[in-house]
Structure formats: structure tokens, C-alpha cells
Subunit: 471 residues, 2 copies
Amino acid sequence: MDREKFRKYGYKLVDWVADYLETVEKYPVKSTVEPGEIKAKLPSSPPQHPEEMDRILEDFEKIIIPGITHWQHPGWFAYFPANNSPASILGELLAAGLGTQGMVWQTSPAATELEEVVMDWLRQMIGLPEGWAGVIQDTASTATLCALLAAREKVTGFKVNETGFEKPLRVYASREAHSSVEKGVKIAGFGRKNLVYIPVDDEFAMIPGELERAIEEDLRNGLQPACVVATVGTTSSGAVDPLRPIGEICQKYGVWLHVDAAYAGTAAILPEKRWALDGAELADSLVFNPHKWMLTNFDCSAFFVKDPQVLTRTFEIHPEYLKTGVDAVVKNFRDWGIQLGRRFRALKLWFVLRTYGVEGIKKIIRRHIHLAEIFRDELQQDGRFEIMAPVYFSLVCFRLKAGRPEEVLNELNRHLLERVNSTGKLFMTHTTLDGKYTLRLVVGQRTTEERHVRQALEIIKEKAGELLGSS
Amino acid sequence: MDREKFRKYGYKLVDWVADYLETVEKYPVKSTVEPGEIKAKLPSSPPQHPEEMDRILEDFEKIIIPGITHWQHPGWFAYFPANNSPASILGELLAAGLGTQGMVWQTSPAATELEEVVMDWLRQMIGLPEGWAGVIQDTASTATLCALLAAREKVTGFKVNETGFEKPLRVYASREAHSSVEKGVKIAGFGRKNLVYIPVDDEFAMIPGELERAIEEDLRNGLQPACVVATVGTTSSGAVDPLRPIGEICQKYGVWLHVDAAYAGTAAILPEKRWALDGAELADSLVFNPHKWMLTNFDCSAFFVKDPQVLTRTFEIHPEYLKTGVDAVVKNFRDWGIQLGRRFRALKLWFVLRTYGVEGIKKIIRRHIHLAEIFRDELQQDGRFEIMAPVYFSLVCFRLKAGRPEEVLNELNRHLLERVNSTGKLFMTHTTLDGKYTLRLVVGQRTTEERHVRQALEIIKEKAGELLGSS
């Protein structure tokens, strides 16, 4: 593809994306294709000869688009958001065009140094202490794994890296912690039986006293505590583990504290939500995801550590072919995580932070939280629903109750979710809280407005009415 | 940024990228900034209020560009390439615009199914047996870690995941294996002392007999062999571990064989280079990187496994909030690796494979290999240089010898590399082979032509002459 063709199709795709972002509401949020349907439309062998871009884009529209679940739809209320923004898309385009790979400083000094700078901007925005250093990871799963590994090495004097596990090391997280903690514990070799689930209070937050009890019991049994993962904004309900008392316990026992604020960390840029990270200075590491709720398209996960040397000592490797003359004076981000190669993700983050400014981002986050509160209040006024957890941020957990006996509620709500999602107007997902099937509505798309939330309310109430009438 | 502004700046950046790709030769390949120079030009706090895109793009040109090392420069001969292509950039733009996240099938069926299809295309292209399944990972480091984890679980009946390490497990790789093997061994909890380095022959390839000896010795000592990592195209010299005898040994002892073909795997699409993967059907997993040498911009690493169930059982997690109604009949790629969230990387790969076609890609790979051979032959004809390893693909290892005594050669070649790179016309890196400082020239950029290689030769010879004259 020569320059003129690239220009032509580049314009065409810019137009396509511009229109898409504006008109995404015309699609059902969740793809309605059946398993195997897309695959069946694609050739089973690669093309031997070049094909025209027009032909490919035609297939994109005809075959791929029906199989897309539209994360950027204003009716996206599922999982957590992964919102993007025009500025972020442009940043990604430019990064792809440069095709630079920032594994070490010299392979693009600007990629490393811009990352240092924008990560420090984020540090200030969420109120972490000076001295903490940041690095972009792909996902919070990876960041949490990095924290577990650094904790593992710190508590053993870097001996697992050298000689492997010699005795069990223990990790603690609340029952409500994200599945990535279990996954990380398995990957890092701790073994799942060494992940101790700490009970939660009736707002689904870790009970610090129970954590301390578990640590003491382990110590009595000769087991070595290594890491506590506290969650700020759990996936199921948005619960907030209290960082200050947890942090004090971790300091008392010399245990690494990692804070998983993947979703809710963004809210800490608002003074009125800063309480959620109160005590974070007692932690050793923290992750939050600009690719969830800060307009930066996936992937971009912000990982911070108090003592970067522990992290780099955990990951460092020194093959001759990666040595450079400036290694002693620069950051080589290859030693800050699992992967060697690194995309230039700081660029899109820089574009986002500058085009919106901190105030612009605050305004959007406040709007999302406000819309979630409207949703909660309206459901509360409709006596048929039950709110299942406090709404601290933009996630509302609820279920249809309508005076029905407990035995039928799980099934009833499963049907409600199916009927609501099948309208194509919105997409919600579910969880269980205390064993109860619970619907989750998260507001977080850049373009979600009050009318989308009111439409969601209307549909939910309507489908609830149908179900109750027919049940 | 509204639709019209996005369109305006989208066009502008498409133009910028089009011009960049065409005129990248005007920049020095390797950035010439000093450590800290970029950082010093950036504000230490985030902007509070929105800034204009024009202003940001001005800073991009003025501050960022001087700090870019130009991986897409036709004079890029360093490390391994990370070549991109117009089609790939367009695919990345579209993926960023869609902002879809394919962690499970239902969050975009097309993302999952297109990935299945294009990965099967790649499988056919490099000649892996039917039945092997592919998944896109970010990097070969991650893929190799996944292989080590799957091997760890398979050999212990999935017990490390459950209860942690109970006895040492052993991993084998040649002395020339990539540093990601050591890194993965540490991350997965094996401990570096359980990574057994197998001696290599005088072409830097693993000696199968030495592998068997090491496995037998471990078995005699009650140590459990878990995984062998064989490399096809080592980073230092492009050496090829012989897969067939290694695979036979692995089968004999029931050890997982992972093939790291990150760089050279691409060459296996050429019938005349297929020998490099001879015996791969005896392996359990293999990785090669379309983001290195197949025109697909970073990141896109192709990871294949013979038995996907071992992989998914290694990684699977079942939180309620991720369950969907179709889990029994679809692939949920979240269970095929470390991360939960996943970008839609199959899109750019699809664009690349279709716009070039298999024949188009073959042509480019053949050209690169041919240019490397020209480079080797010309250096060989100039009596002052020594070729340090066989040239199987597009990597040439050499040093200036010129009858000088061994003691001064390392320093001499270090200076040669510095002088050559400081011209800004090309960028090479180094390694050591048998303790000898060695220069590496890899041909792999999409736009590298004979004149760039001839220019490199000229500069290298000229700088060698200067050095020899002045020494």
C-alpha cells in the first residue's frame, strides 16, 4: 500500500470511526450472533495473493461488525467500562504509525520519559505520595501479578527467584477480591491453598480484625505471610476495603500491601471520593486502570510502587544483547514487568490528559457517579427492587424482589437480565452477593447521558412488569 | 473533541503517518537525546484545563520526535525488527476506534472468532499440524511464560496451582536461549538454579545428547524434568536448536517441549526455510512474532499449543461475574493466558495477511534474507572482518578482526559500533558469542532495500578504516 492509498484508506477509516462513535447507538449493544457464526463466514485458509482494501473493509462491515459487542455504546452498563475517547484513538494511531518499541530507554527515550512524566501526573491526580514511581502495564491482572512477585521476592530476600519455593508463602485478600488475585497466586507459584480469603462486613469490605487474626494464626503455624491485596471498588459490588487499618496491620507484620483500585482508583481524582484511597500511603503498590474509566482506550493500566528497586530487582535480566551505555542512569522499563517489548502507550494517555485536562476528566467522572445515583434512587422508589450494596461510585447492584420468596429470586433475576439485554438497548451483567443473583449496572461510557440511564430504568421496569405478570 | 474535530485531526495524523513512513530516513535512526532531556521539557504537573490539539501536536513534533528511535527506518538493523505496515496501522486504528475488549466470547464474538481464524491461517503458513490451536499474546516473553506454566501444571497434575511447589522442577534451555526463559522461570517460581543451561555446538545450537544427559542426571538425583525450551533463531546469532532429536528426547522422558521461534518462525513460511521447524510436531507449544518480521505492528505474538486443554486448565478462573450462557460451547480467551482483558489484535493481523497475501509476505522475507546474504558475502570478501555464525535467516554476526590480537578486539569492535551508530544512518546492536564482542546486523524493515545495506557496508568499512588507521 503506497502513501496515497494509505492516505485514502486512512481518511476513510477516520471517517468510519468518527461516524461510528456518533452513531453506535444504532447497533444492539451486545452482539446477537450465534457461536461459530462469524467463523463460518471466513475462509479457512489464508489468501495467497494480495486483496484490495475495499474488499477487506466490505468484509469488515458485513462479517465483523455484526459480531462486535459495542463497548463504546452509551447503553454499555456491563462489567466495568473500557471507555475510549477521540484523543486516545488519535494517540493510538500515532503510536502505531511510529511503530516504536520502548523496551529500554535507548530504543526510544521519549517513550520512556513521557511514560515517567504522565505516570507522575496520574500519581498526583489520585494523591499518592511523592517518591512513588509509576509504570504502564497492560492490565490490572498483570499489575497485581507483578505486585505478588515483588512481595514474594521481598519477603524471601529474593530467594524464590534464585532457588524456588522452600516453604509456603501466604497471600490474603477479601472474599470479594478479583479473580486475578487467585490467578496471580497460581502463576507465581504460591498455590491456591495459600490464598487466604478474609471475611467481609455487610458492605462487602474486608474486616481488618479478621485479616490480623489470619496473619497471626499463620505465624503461629509457622507460615510466612507475604502479601495482602486490598480492593478499592470490588468487581461485584464496588466495595472498599479500608486501607488505613489494613495498611497498619501490614506494616506491623512486615507484609506487602497491594491495592487493587482497577476500577475505582479513577474516582480518587475527585476530592469528595479521595477517602477511598485514605491510607494508600501505607501500601507498597497500587494499580488503577485509565483504560477502564479515564477515557484512554484499552490497554493502559497504571501501576505504582513505593520502592521501585524491589520491583526491578524482581524482574531484572542482564543479557549482553540488551546492555546499553546508559543503563546506570536511565529507566529501562523492561525490568518493571513481565514483558520485554513495550508499546508506546504513554502517548495516548498524554493526549487524553491534555485534551481533557484534570477538570474535564473530573466533570465526566462526576456525571457518571451522579447518573448511577439517579438510577439507584429511582429503583429504590420503585418498591419492587432491592439495592444490594452501597453505591460509592458508578456501580449499582440490585435485584428484583417484589415480595417473592427467596427460592425463586435467582431465577427471576436471571430472566430479567436476559430480557433486558435482549432489547439491544443496553447491556448489563450479573454477579452474586451473599449467594444472591445480583444485577450490576455500571455507568462509565464517555457518551452516556441521563436519557440512557432513564431508558435503562424504563426497560428494566417494563421487563420486570412482564416477568411478574407472567410468573 | 467533537466529530468534526476528530475528523480534522484524524486526517492530519493520517497525513503525518503517511509522510513519516515515506520520509523517516531524514531522521537519525537512533535518537541522539541525552538522558533526562525529554523529561526536562515536559511540565511536572498535569494540565488542569483542556488544551488545544494543535498545541499538543506541536509539542509532539518538538519534544517527542527528537526522542524517538525510529524502528521503521530502513536503516534499522538493531536487535530484531518490529516492522509494521500501512495495513497494520489501519487495523490498529480501527481496533482503537471500536474500543472492544475480547476477554470472553460474548464481549465481542468477532474478536474471538477472527482470532481463531487468523491464528489458524498462521498455523498453516508455518506448517504446524492440524489440531494445534493458536492465541495471540502480547510478546514472546509472555508466551514462553505461559508455556512454562502449562508445563509446570502438566507435569505435576495441576498441583502447583493448587498447593504450590513441593519439590524442584527442572527447565532446560541452551546457553543461547533468550533472557525471557530465565525471567519466566523466575516468575513461575521454579527458581533460576533449576534452569539447566545445555551446551551448544560450534554453530550455537543445543546439543541434543547433552540435553539427554542433563535430564538423565536430574532423574538420577530425584529431580523432576518439566520443560525444555528450544530456540529457532536465537537472539545472539540466529542459531537453530534441532527440534526433531530434541523433541524425541522430550517425548521419551515425558517433558514439555516449547519452541521459541519468536524471530525466525516467520521464515518457516518459505519452503526453503521450513527445515528450521522440522520436528515441531513433536513439541507441545511454539511461539513466533508477527510483530517482529511479519509486518504487523507491535504487539502481536502468535502462540500455539498442541493441547489447549492443558493451557486453559492452567489459567482458568470461574468468578460468577464472568460466567456467560455460552461458556460450554465457545472459546473464552481469558483462559488462554495471563491477562483478563484483551485488545482486538486479530484485526490488524487480518488486514496484513489479506493485503499482502502469503505470496506477498514471502517475497518480502526472501528479500530480507537475500540482503543479509549480500551483506555477509561483501564482508567476507573484505578480509578485515570475521563472520561469527552461520547466516540462516536475515541476521549477520560479525566482527572486525584485521589481524589484530584477540585482547584488543572487544574494545575495537565496541568502538566500531559506536562510530557506525553515531552516523545516524543505521543502527546496529551487539552481543557476545563465545565471550567475543560481536556486531549484529538484522535486515527486517519493510522498506529496507539493497541501497540501505550497501550504505551500511560502506559506513562500516569506512569507520573500520578510520579505527584501524588511528589504532
